[in-house]
């Protein structure tokens, strides 16, 4: 699975960090998205998909299923 991040759209809601905590975190300075793992393992894919659909600013775009 691959995904792109549109950093300038991020508002630091942190939904990704609860949906997929092994893949996403929040920057200490402003709460915006930090990618911990750019190539999530198959057992993380459902969580990443959940993060993408729940992100309020549509920051996470799945590019490869």
């Amino acid at each position: 699975m691959k995904f792109d991040i549109e950093l300038d759209k991020c508002v630091g809601a942190g939904v990704c960090a609860i949906a997929a905590p092994k893949v996403f975190d929040q920057n200490d300075d402003d709460g915006i998205i930090v990618v911990l793992n750019p190539s999530p393992s198959p057992d993380q894919e459902a969580a990443v998909r959940d993060a993408a659909v729940r992100c309020p600013a549509a920051v996470i775009k799945l590019t490869e299923q």
Partner: protein, 408 residues
């Protein structure tokens, strides 16, 4: 770009559906979602809006802040002055700011409410919850859960975050409780609002003179190109209180009542799954931010097949979207085990800033109430319970509870 012919929107034939019953949205929403998903309705503030009732359309509006401005957000159609629509947003009140003006405020506050930061408050919240249940144990029931527990716990949490000094917290709690106390007259509540506004002016001034380890002091001390001024800091403090405290209080009270009505769900409160998904399902099912979240189109667009002209208002009905069968099967059922991309915290760049704090407070408060108050029950007949149909945030005005014993 295709230019659309100008037309005047039709005069609303219906009023905003606002009769909840008691956990479900107004019954008319189910029909509207099926037959007329974007109807024109009249509102309590005296102007007409387009209502957005479907989940997909709700996401489309709230997710497109370039087309839909928050200048009149989020409740001007419920309690605003229609002659003041489009007025510049008050300083610091970020829910009415758009674009860069919004991001400047939002990103400075996001770090204060991020997941790992909020998690550090857990011991403090746990102690508050424990102390307030201990205080219930000293009293004879029935007791109003809303005043004795649901309101003070979140009020004390937000005062800790804002850095309200210990000795001022009683005054802070009284002033904030009075503002939402419907047994007081409008004048008394307005006086309480003015008193608490004065309270924030003094609070910000004291932090400027004598900064500490709290949110307002950090905003003051931060070195940045665009520092926040005192008026913005007061706006931020007021907004954080208003948005973050009565909402959680209403969720605690309404969730308690809903769980007492759904004992098979209440049985799951002590499970790990509740920690994971249960709170979000309660937030979806109850959707207390109701009667529409207001946006204003700044250019012509189309939503749900309906042409929306620049300058027209759209109210996104979260409680309807969250029950849309196209979004979630069995959406009218409460099921604490399920996960969903619900809109209970809104959607788009203005989605609830304090959502992780709200989740944590509910995750601690609800299981503890049900675990420690053995035999917890409502002490009045269901028909005597008054719901807040008429208010911006839904809830129960007073919930008299009783119990058999309080365990440690």
């Amino acid at each position: 770009m295709i230019s659309l012919p100008q037309t005047t929107p039709p005069q609303a034939q219906e009023s905003l559906p606002a009769n909840r019953c008691p956990f479900d949205p107004d019954r008319r929403y189910e029909e509207l979602r099926a037959d007329e998903p974007v109807p024109r309705v009249s509102t309590p503030a005296g102007f007409d809006v387009w209502l957005v009732t479907r989940y997909e359309d709700a996401r489309a509006v709230l997710g497109d802040a370039e087309t839909f401005s928050s200048v009149d957000a989020s409740s001007s159609h419920l309690m605003g002055d229609k002659d003041n629509l489009g007025a510049p947003p008050p300083p610091g009140v970020m829910l009415r700011h758009d674009g860069d003006s919004h991001s400047r405020l939002r990103l400075r506050l996001a770090r204060e409410f991020m997941v790992k930061r909020v998690a550090k408050l857990e011991p403090f919240i746990r102690r508050l919850v424990c102390d307030h249940i201990d205080r219930l144990a000293e009293r004879e029931g029935p007791v109003d859960l809303y005043r004795a527990f649901s309101l003070p716990v979140p009020a004390l949490v937000i005062s800790e975050i804002l850095g309200v000094p210990e000795e001022d917290r009683d005054e802070f709690e009284r002033a904030t409780a009075s503002q939402v106390d419907l047994s007081l007259s409008l004048e008394e509540r307005q006086a309480a609002a003015i008193e608490s506004a004065g309270f924030f002016v003094r609070l910000v001034q004291s932090k400027i003179e004598n900064p500490g380890d709290d949110l307002i002091s950090r905003l003051i001390l931060e070195h940045t190109e665009l520092p926040l001024d005192a008026a913005e800091l007061q706006g931020i403090a007021l907004l954080l209180l208003a948005a973050g405290h009565d909402t959680t209080a209403n969720m605690i009270t309404l969730s308690t009542y809903a769980l007492l009505q759904h004992p098979e769900q209440a049985a799951k409160l002590q499970d790990a799954a509740f920690q994971e998904t249960g709170v979000d399902e309660l937030i979806r099912y109850l959707t207390i931010v109701h009667n529409g979240v207001l946006r204003k189109a700044v250019r012509d667009t189309t939503i749900g097949g309906r042409i929306i002209r620049a300058g027209e208002h759209v109210a996104v009905v979260l409680e309807s979207a969250n029950r849309d069968a196209h979004f979630l099967g069995d959406a009218d059922q409460l099921d604490l085990d399920r996960k969903s991309a619900h809109l209970g915290f809104g959607y788009g760049p203005h989605q609830c800033l304090g959502q992780h704090l709200a989740r944590l407070e509910l995750r601690i408060a609800l299981p503890e109430l049900f675990r420690r108050l053995r035999g917890l029950r409502v002490a009045v007949p269901d028909e005597d319970i008054a719901f807040k149909n008429d208010m911006v945030v839904y809830g129960i005005k007073e919930l008299m509870i009783d119990w058999d014993e309080v365990v440690a």
